[in-house]
């Protein structure tokens, strides 16, 4: 131990062991003594300090207040004391200076620990206050009365109430919509002494109309007696975040709904290829439930084999490539397997899901294209058929635009119109131009209908061929492309058919004509004989001849019908129109039929009291036809009702029977040529099936309508209308 001072050994030993630093300086500021603690303070071995001027070694010390007190102590000889921070050592000391005549003793009591915590506390408090005032978070301090003690700027902004207006008020007074909940929480912290963290609640601040969301944490502040003296709270306005969350949730829900509502199958897989989600459509197509596939390897479930039932290795699968190679894929010629072991053709696409630059999974969307495949196959078959039809040249096929220009046609079509393929390529073939004037109206009508419906039933017309001759055809057409206004036509040459029809009609006409003379002859003889034998009183013979005469009339009727049909078909049925009262014709017809129909009572209801301009004989023919039919087809019934009504310039005549009736599906057909109801009940009621056809044509020529209403087994009512004259 160095000995420069007058201190005795014992004192020095004591000084050596005290926890304070101690040093003695002589009048020249040279170190005479310093203890171990001081050595630590100066961080220099004692031998290097002893005999040295301490202020020269540590010039920083001269700037301290201690230095000036040291000088003062030397001057005055009075002890000095100070608490000072020594930047040189970064330590706080309580410095006691005891001067004597030639030496000055200095005690350094280290206050650093104490001073530091005090300073830290002060600084912490400052910082805390700064944080409280400036942090973007609401801070509030509640006292035991649950009133606001301290409120920072942010909270005042959150509540939209100035800071000073909070003080002394309860939350219910400041934030009515959430106040009671806040007070409950504060009270809870006061009683439990435990903090409540991250409570979210919503409400409305005073002037804000929108709901707002806050997140709060409450914590107790204890007194030195460990009692809760106040409750602090941090409040964060999380409205924006909450709204974003709600939006996000909504989006998610919408997205999920979208996934569920689409017919397209969608599933997601993670990096291992395991299912992370699957929508209903996908589950249905695969024939699985959500639970059966979630977390399972989708390749093994739906894509394990090819359509040839050969294994499909995952490394070759484009879906897996989305994961391994980061490649999207769209595939349309593979199959997915169902749980039941069957498979179906799919079109799928698979795209990787990338998060932060890493592939985390893939989304697979797919459609069952069984139907499409079927359609494609059907289309292929129909195309083949069409090509066969086109090339077979059995029927003329042409593709044309709305202007009538034929763009493409088969040989059969060109032959019908007498043009060459070259003509067509030069744009010389035009079906509109090839249409004769008298067919223009019909053609325009059919074209309009074609545009409306996309397809036209076949209709007859004529074309003018390149050489100027005419050719009768049946045309059917369909729209090929609405935008381009292109259509396809099927044209059949019906020259032979027309010829045959003409010959048939001529034959019927000639035959009827030729039949008329022998019939007239037979009738003449029969009636002549009747007169002759009557005079001789041979009643039996007269009766036989009368029966014969009736059969002749029947035969005449049939021939007349055939002749009428011939006229209708050749457009030669002419009307001899006169003005007359329709009631007369109806009454005459009833009278006419009454003579032969003895079993039936014909009841006449209503009168038209209207004049018609019509062919009296032809209308009479219609009436008689309807009446005889009514009687013929109601053998079990006793009456037939004829009703005439007039409404708005139209006369309607109804002939109602209570007989066998007409099935619904035949009600239109009975007006067709040669159509006969052929069933059990109508058997034995023979005719040619022409009467109603002729009746319809006659009424049509009079601009009227004819139809039937009937319930099978309950009878039928035939109606026809005629326009009132003038």
């Amino acid at each position: 131990m160095p000995r420069y001072s007058k201190l005795d050994k014992q004192t020095a030993t004591v000084l050596e062991r005290i926890s304070d630093s101690f040093l003695v300086l002589d009048n020249k500021d040279l170190v005479v003594f310093l203890n171990k603690q001081a050595e630590k303070v100066f961080t220099t071995p004692r031998n290097n300090l002893i005999g040295k001027n301490i202020f020269s070694l540590y010039p920083g010390l001269k700037k301290t207040k201690t230095y000036s007190l040291y000088q003062k102590a030397q001057k005055t000889g009075k002890a000095q004391q100070i608490e000072e921070y020594f930047p040189t050592f970064n330590l706080w000391f309580r410095v006691s200076i005891y001067p004597s005549s030639d030496e000055t003793s200095i005690y350094l009591h280290n206050l650093s620990k104490h001073k530091r915590s005090e300073k830290e506390r002060e600084e912490t408090l400052k910082l805390l206050n700064a944080i409280i005032d400036t942090a973007p978070i609401g801070f509030v301090l509640y006292d035991k009365k649950l009133t606001y003690r301290r409120v920072n700027k942010w909270l005042s902004e959150i509540n939209n109430v100035p800071i000073n207006k909070h003080i002394g008020k309860k939350p219910v007074e400041i934030v009515p919509s959430a106040g009671s909940k806040i007070q409950k929480n504060v009270k809870k912290v006061f009683t439990s002494g435990k903090q409540i963290t991250s409570i979210e609640f919503s409400g409305k601040s005073n002037s804000n109309e929108d709901a707002r969301y806050w997140q709060s944490s409450y914590f107790p502040i204890f007194s030195s007696q460990k009692e809760v003296m106040a409750v602090g709270a941090f409040v964060r306005d999380v409205t924006q975040r909450k709204k974003a969350e709600i939006q996000l949730k909504k989006r998610e829900q919408e997205f999920r709904q979208l996934l569920q509502s689409t017919d397209q199958g969608i599933y997601g897989i993670d990096r291992k290829g395991n299912c992370t989600f699957i929508n209903q459509a996908a589950a249905d197509m695969i024939g699985v439930s959500y639970k059966q596939v979630i977390g399972k390897n989708m390749h093994r479930i739906v894509h394990h084999s090819t359509s040839k039932r050969e294994p499909y290795p995952a490394e070759k699968c484009p879906i897996i490539h989305a994961l391994t190679k980061n490649e999207g894929a769209r595939v349309a010629d593979e199959v997915f397997w169902k749980k039941d072991g069957s498979f179906f053709p799919v079109e799928y696409s698979s795209y990787p899901i990338i998060e932060d630059g890493k592939t985390v999974g893939a989304v697979v969307t797919f459609n069952d294209i069984t139907k499409r495949k079927e359609y494609e196959e059907a289309l292929r078959v129909s195309e083949t058929r069409f090509k066969a039809l086109f090339n077979a040249n059995i029927i003329g096929v042409s593709i044309e635009n709305a202007e009538g220009k034929v763009l493409e046609a088969n040989d059969a079509f060109l032959n019908i119109l007498g043009y060459t393929r070259q003509d067509m390529h030069e744009g010389l073939v035009n079906w509109k131009e090839a249409t004769p004037p008298e067919y223009k109206r019909l053609t325009e009508k059919m074209l309009k209908r074609l545009i409306e419906k996309g397809i036209n039933e076949s209709y007859e017309k004529e074309y003018i061929r390149k050489d100027g001759t005419r050719i009768p055809v049946v045309v059917g057409n369909a729209v090929l492309d609405h935008k381009k206004k292109e259509g396809i036509s099927f044209v059949l040459d019906i020259t032979d058919q027309k010829e045959a029809e003409k010959r048939k009609d001529e034959f019927i006409g000639m035959a009827s004509h030729e039949l008329k003379n022998p019939i007239t002859t037979i009738k003449a003889y029969a009636q002549f004989l009747q007169r002759y034998l009557q005079d001789y009183g041979d009643q039996d013979a007269v009766d036989y001849l009368s029966k014969m005469d009736k059969q002749i009339d029947r035969l005449t009727g049939l021939i007349t019908e055939l002749l009428d049909v011939t006229k209708i078909n050749t457009g030669k049925l002419q009307l001899y129109k006169k003005m007359f009262n329709l009631d007369e014709v109806v009454e005459d017809a009833i009278e006419n039929v009454r003579i032969t129909a003895k079993k039936h009572r014909i009841i006449k209801l209503g009168k038209s009291r209207a004049m018609v301009e019509a062919d009296r004989d032809r209308l009479s023919q219609v009436m008689i036809n309807l009446l005889t039919n009514a009687i013929k087809y109601s053998p079990q019934s006793k009456k037939v009702i004829v009703k005439t009504t007039r409404k708005n310039g139209t006369i309607t005549v109804a002939v109602q029977d209570f007989g066998i009736g007409i099935p619904k599906n035949r009600q239109k057909k009975i007006f067709e040529r040669f159509y006969r109801i052929n069933n059990q009940q109508s058997r034995g009621l023979s005719n040619l099936g022409l009467g109603l056809y002729i009746a319809r044509e006659i009424i049509k020529l009079h601009k009227g309508k004819i139809w039937v209403e009937s319930v099978e087994g309950k009878g039928a009512t035939f109606y026809f209308t005629l326009p009132v004259a003038g």
Partner: protein, 124 residues
Amino acid sequence: MNGTRKSIWISIDDEGLTQAIQTILAQEDFNIKIVEDENHLQTELKTTKPDLLLLDIHFFENNGVCMLKELKKNRPTSDIPVMVLSEELDRKVCSRLEVDECLAKPFDIELFLRKVNDLTQSSN
């Protein structure tokens, strides 16, 4: 029948029917002459005139119509009553050709004889 027998000329191109009408009319005491065709008719008309001419008009042919037109055109023959027998009751044609009666085949003998009587009576 009183007085002279009325003469009826018949021009019908069906032999059977001609015979039947001839038989019936003969029974009713008419004097019947069969006229083969237009030439024959014209020849006959040079010497005498019938009380009634019975003509057959075809719906599909024009034979009778020509004969009728010729007849009605010339003054001395235009007032001969003409009855037309046709497959059709073509009243338009009948009125245009100024025929006196038109009957559709087959007709009722009673009606036929009544008309024949009416026309032959009026010819006096």
